[in-house]
Symmetry: C3
Subunit: 109 residues, 3 copies
Amino acid sequence: MKLLIAIVQDKDANRLSNEFIDKNIRATRLSTTGGFLKSGNTTFMIGVEEDRVDEVLEMIKAASHTRQQFMTPPVNLDAQLDNTSSYPVEVQVGGATVFVMPVDQFHQF
Amino acid sequence: MKLLIAIVQDKDANRLSNEFIDKNIRATRLSTTGGFLKSGNTTFMIGVEEDRVDEVLEMIKAASHTRQQFMTPPVNLDAQLDNTSSYPVEVQVGGATVFVMPVDQFHQF
Amino acid sequence: MKLLIAIVQDKDANRLSNEFIDKNIRATRLSTTGGFLKSGNTTFMIGVEEDRVDEVLEMIKAASHTRQQFMTPPVNLDAQLDNTSSYPVEVQVGGATVFVMPVDQFHQF
Ligand SMILES: Nc1ncnc2c1ncn2[C@@H]1O[C@@H]2COP(=O)(O)O[C@H]3[C@@H](O)[C@H](n4cnc5c(N)ncnc54)O[C@@H]3COP(=O)(O)O[C@H]2[C@H]1O
Ligand SMILES: Nc1ncnc2c1ncn2[C@@H]1O[C@@H]2COP(=O)(O)O[C@H]3[C@@H](O)[C@H](n4cnc5c(N)ncnc54)O[C@@H]3COP(=O)(O)O[C@H]2[C@H]1O
Ligand SMILES: Nc1ncnc2c1ncn2[C@@H]1O[C@@H]2COP(=O)(O)O[C@H]3[C@@H](O)[C@H](n4cnc5c(N)ncnc54)O[C@@H]3COP(=O)(O)O[C@H]2[C@H]1O
């Protein structure tokens, strides 16, 4: 058993979630925030048998799209478009960041 | 030191949390969402000494109850009871899903 | 690659987050709740190369401050100041609790 922690963009989360349901992959969703852009994203915790890890990595890769996003200026989000400074700055946000974690024990009660 | 990730039903979370306090088990709570039913549940992150892992697993098992829940139809949650399709579909939701994770280092500052 | 799970007080989260940005440390933030005090705190998931783990632990230690916090009485948060019982009880809340977790695979798509 492995636990995958996958951070994806909100725009891709529902498609990925539906793909998991179709393929009987169990997952739990968390609403999270990117440390740099300070905008919301989605983290999936996916407990999966070792022999399905590659399949799940493929599903995440297929569902996730790299996009341009604007960097939030230091003051507040709403000021972004009125800002006469060097903002808005565009950054490329990847489709997904995934950690495959070892698991000692897995239980369902 | 191990880190337990325990996903439980909201209805059981407070009882489990009180049990942790009584037994001096430290935990952090996250509001999460089930990937299949898309309804809220609770995830506990529980850092615990290796010699208390079995005790904590017992506490989780004792506090968690298997229930029937309705599966959310694809449109939205509120439509569930008005839906004339094959919904609502009942699924059995377990008491708890627990991952016992290895920890390299544990620090408190 | 290691995944650090760092639970810090909300008051210290923004300073720590800015420090991460300055030092090009990538992180994802979760809004969490302490199991004992039942008040909000912040959990960072920080995927970092093994050779930067000590540096990140130092950053967390430097940004986090031990404080006194009042323990929530069993009824509800708002009753805390009117309570004529033995509340409010003060507890010392540490700066940070950190788990350094091993990672089998790390992918960015
Ligand atoms: N100090 C810095 N300097 C210059 N550019 C920076 C930067 N920090 C982040 N970026 C850029 O901004 C994008 C959004 O990062 P954010 O932290 O909001 O949102 C991140 C974060 O929530 C998560 N993430 C990525 N790497 C992570 C890691 N090693 N540990 C934990 N979370 C990570 O995945 C989201 C997307 O990350 P991704 O790498 O695709 O895309 C990143 C990256 O292209
Ligand atoms: N391997 C894993 N990795 C990460 N998180 C996990 C997990 N196994 C369970 N969970 C978490 O625990 C909740 C309860 O799962 P359980 O298996 O008891 O109860 C499940 C199961 O009986 C059923 N179910 C889930 N996926 C299904 C599928 N593809 N086909 C048929 N039934 C499914 O629906 C119930 C609710 O599932 P839901 O996803 O809403 O909520 C799940 C999910 O949040
Ligand atoms: N092993 C672990 N696993 C998972 N998460 C952990 C953890 N150790 C600490 N945390 C997280 O860090 C927060 C601060 O914990 P700290 O030990 O500094 O500060 C604690 C501690 O000084 C005290 N405390 C907690 N449980 C206690 C108990 N059963 N009896 C007496 N004091 C307790 O109350 C403070 C606030 O605790 P709270 O639970 O609200 O919030 C905790 C919890 O969210």
